[in-house]
Amino acid sequence: MVNLTIDGKQVAVEKDATIYDAAKACGIKIPILCHDKKLHPFGGCRMCLVEVEQMKGRLIPACTTPVTEGMIVQTTTDEIVKARKLVLELLLLKHPIDCPVCDAAGDCDLQNLTYEYKVNMNRFVDEKFNHEIDYENPLIERDMNRCIHCGKCARICDEIVSYGAYTFINRGIEAKMGTEFDGPLNCEFCGSCVSVCPVGALNSRPFKFKARWWALQKTKSVCSYCGTGCQLTLGSKDGKVLTTIYDENQGFHNGQLCTRGRFGYQFVNSDKRLTAPMIRKNGNLQEATWEEALAEVTSRLSAGKSDPASVAALATPRLTNEELYLFGKLFRGTVGTDNIDHSAGYAHEALTKGAVASFGVAASPAEIADVQKSNLLLVVKSDAYETHPVIGFEINLGVKRKGIALRIVSDKKGKLTRLPGAKTTVHAPGNEVALFNALCKSVIDQGLAAEGVAGLDALKAAVADATAEKAGVTAEEIAAIAKEFASAEKALIILPIGQGYPGHNAALANAAANLAILTGQYGKEGAGLLIMGEKNNSQGAVDMGIYPKGTGLNAAAIIDGCANGNIKTLFVAGENPVVSYPNRKKVEKALENVEFMVVSDLFLTETAAMADVVLPACSFAEKSGTFTSLGRRVQNVRKAIPAVGLAKSDFDILNALSQALGGARYNNQGEVFTEIAANVPAYKGLTQAGLKDEGAVYPVALSAKLVPAAAQASAPVAGKLTLVTGSALYHCGTMSRFGEGPMYVCPDAYAELNVADAAALKVAEGDQVTVTSGTGAVQVVAKVGKRVPQGVVFSPYHFGEGSVNTITDGSEVTYVTVAKK
C-alpha cells in the first residue's frame, strides 16, 4: 500500500494505482475525458491535471501518474481551474455547439464540464470542423465534427472488442478518428465505442431523437439473450424501451454489451408483438378474450389430468426462474405429467446429464470470473465469442492484458484464433469427444495425471486406443495441448452448448471434465469447466428441474409422441420447435398431428402459427423475477415498462391456469422465489431483495468422478461436405430476429464455404446455393472465406427462412451437397 494526501485527506491505495484512482477511492472527483477504467491510460486530453507538491512548477495528469509514497496532491487550485478552462476552450474551438440537437446532451462529458467550469466565452476563434457525417449504417452514426480525439473508441474496439475498426488517421490539423480507408463503419456493431464516447460523436441511431437523456426512466435489469447474464440498464419513456444505458460500474463486464444486448432490445417494442389472445376457429386464428382463451386451455388440461401421459409441455429457458418453477409445479404436480422439457432434450444434456455425472452438480463447476483468473484457456469451438460475445470480451482482455494462454480446439477458425499467441487446432467435425479422449490419453502417457485420481484405471482402458488421428489432428498437437493444460498453474475449459451444437452433449461434457479432473484442474479458482448454456436462463431452467425425470419424455421424445398420437395436448411456453429443433419437416408434421397445442409467446412464431390457442406473453422488460447465468449467478430482472397490449407475463398465465386447475395460487412472483429458496438447495437463503443489483453466485459442492465417454466415429462421405451448424455472429436462438441490431449485422441464413471448395463448386460470395442432405434442402446465401476448413460448410440455425434444421436430423454431423442455384 502507498500512503498519500489528496486535498488534505490521507489515502492508502494499491501501489499500481494512479492519482486519479486514489482520489476516486476517497470520494474526490477529478474530471476526465479520455480516461476510462477499463482501458489503458492514454493521457491525451489534459482535463485531469492536478498539482503535486513534490513536482512543483507544473501540472500533471492524474489519470496516468502513478501514486508514490508521501505524495501531496491538490486537485482544485486556481491554477488548475484555469488550466482546465483552457483545455475546454480549446476543445470548444473546433467543436460544433449543437447541444440542442445532439443526442448526447445531458450525458455528454464535454457539455457537463463546460457547465461545471462555467466556460461561457472563448478567447479563441477558429473555423469549425467540416467532416462528412457517416450515416451509412442503421445503428451507429459517426459525426467526427464533435470528436474530441480522446481515442476511447479506438482503444475499446482494440483492447476489449478486438475488432480494431478505428484508428487516428492523417496527421496534424487533418488528424481525425477514422476507419480503414476512411470509409464507412463496417464492424460487429457491438456499440462499445458508442458507449464510451464522452461526447456526441458516436451515436446510437435507433435512439436518435427519441428522448432527451434526462427524461428517460432508468431500470437496471439483465439481458434476455444469451447465458452470459450481462446486466443492463434500460432507458424507457412512455411505456417504451428506447435505449440501453451504459454504466461502467454495472456487472462483471463493466457495462459492456454485445450487439444483441445493446441494439437488440427493439424486439420489446416490435410492432410484430402479439397483443391479444387468439383461438383457432374454422381453421383460422382469431382474436379472443383472455377468459375464452384460458377457459379453453383449462378445460383441455383438466381433461388431460385423467391421462397425464397424453399431456406434454415445453418451456423456453428464457422465462424467469419463478415462471419456470411454476411451470414445473403446474405440469408435474397439478396436471401430473413428467413430459416436460426445455429443449434440454436436444441441447443441454451437457449440463443436465454430463455435469451431474462428472461433478455431481447440474451446473458448471466454474464461474465467469474464472476466465480472467486462469493461466490457460482451452476453448472448444472457435465461436464461443459468437455465442457469448461478452465472455469473448473477457477472453480478449485476459489474453491481451494478462497474457493468459489461449488454446482453441474447433472444427473451424474464428475471431479468437487471431488473438495474440492463440493456437487453434482444427479437427474434423463431430470429433470433439475423440479429441478430449486423445488428450486424456496423452496426459496419462506423458505421466502428467494428478496423483490418486479415482477411476483412473477405467479411464485408461476406455481411452487406450484414443489416438490423435481418430480426432483428425496430429499427435504433436495433442501432446502439446495435453502438456500445456496439465502443467498450467490454473487451466479452464470453455464449452459452449446450445441448439445449434449437436454433439455438444453429455458425452462431450464428460470427456472434457475427464481432462480437468485427470489434471487436477478443477475445484480451484481459474480452473475447471465452464459449460456455457445458450439462453439467458438455461441454468435456471436446469435448476428449476425443467427436464423429464423418471419415465417422462424429453423434447425429442415429446415431438415423436405428437407424431405417433401418444401426446394429445401440448403446451409450449416460448419455445419455437419448428425453427430450432432438428428435422423441420418431422417437427411440423408432429405438431400438425397433435390434437391441441397452446403456445404462449411474444410473437406469432412459426410454431405459434400452428397452435390452437395463442397467448400473448410479456417480454423481460415487462416483468420482474430472476435469471440465473451460466456462471450460476442469480440476478434480478426488473420491470421497466407496462405490458404491451393485453399481453400477460408467463407467470400470470401459469398462475391463472394453476389456480383454475386446483393447483397453487400465488399473489406475486416474489412469493414463488421464496418457495424456490426453500426447496431448491442451491438457492437456499437467497431472497430477491438480497440479490440487489449484483446478484449472487450460488455455491456448488463438487464430487468429481472420471466418466469414460464413448466417441462416435464419423467418417467422411465421398463427394459430400460436412455440415457444421451453430450460432451466427450475434444471433441468439430465434428471438434476435426481431431485434434491429442483430438483423443488421446478420439478416439472413447463409452457408460458409472454404475458398477452395467454393472455387471447385464455382460458387462466389453472395451466390444463392442449395444445400441438400438426406432430410431436405435449403436455399441460402453463400459466404466464402478461410474460417472453415476444406470439406466443411458452416450454417447458422436461427432463421425461419432457409432454416438449417430442414436438413439436420440431430446427429453430430450431417453430410450435404452444395450446388449453385
Partner: protein
Amino acid sequence: MSNAPAEEIAAEEIDLTEANEIIDKYLTLPGNLMPVLQGIQDAYGFVPKPTIDLVAERLNVYPSQIYGVLTFYAQFHLKPRGKFIIRVCVGTACHVQGAERITETFFGRLGIGHAETTEDLRYTFEKVACLGACGMAPLAMVNDDTYGKMTVQKVDEIIETYNARPMK
C-alpha cells in the same frame, strides 16, 4: 501475435508475390510493420490496397491501424505515383522568389494539381515546404535532380527533358 504463413493468402487483383516475399523477410522480427510497408512501397511504387489486406492478415494487425500509419507518414502513398516526381519548394525563401508562379506553370503544363499524378503515370507533382537549398531559390526537383533559380522557361525545358525519357 500469431503470424500466418504465406501459402494461406491467395493472390488477388495484383501480383502479391513480391509483397509476400517482403513479409516473409520480416515475418518474425518485432516491429516489422514499418519495414514491411517501406519494402512494399519500394517494390510497387505505392502501397496498393490488396497489399494492406495481405499485411493485415499475415502480420495480424488491424487494417485500420495500417491505414493510420500510412496516412501519418508522408513517405507512404496510397495511390500509384508517377515515374518522375516533380517537387517544387514553396518554403519561405522560394515563396519570396516567386515559387507560386513556378507551381502554377507546372499545373498548367501538366494538367494536374498538388499531390496528383498524370494519367499516363509519367508525373506526380508535389509542393513541399523547404528542400534545404534556399540559396538556389526558387527550387524544383525531379526525382533526385535539383533545378535551382527556376523560371517559367525552365519549367518547359524540364518537361521536355523528361517527356523524352523512356517510361521503362
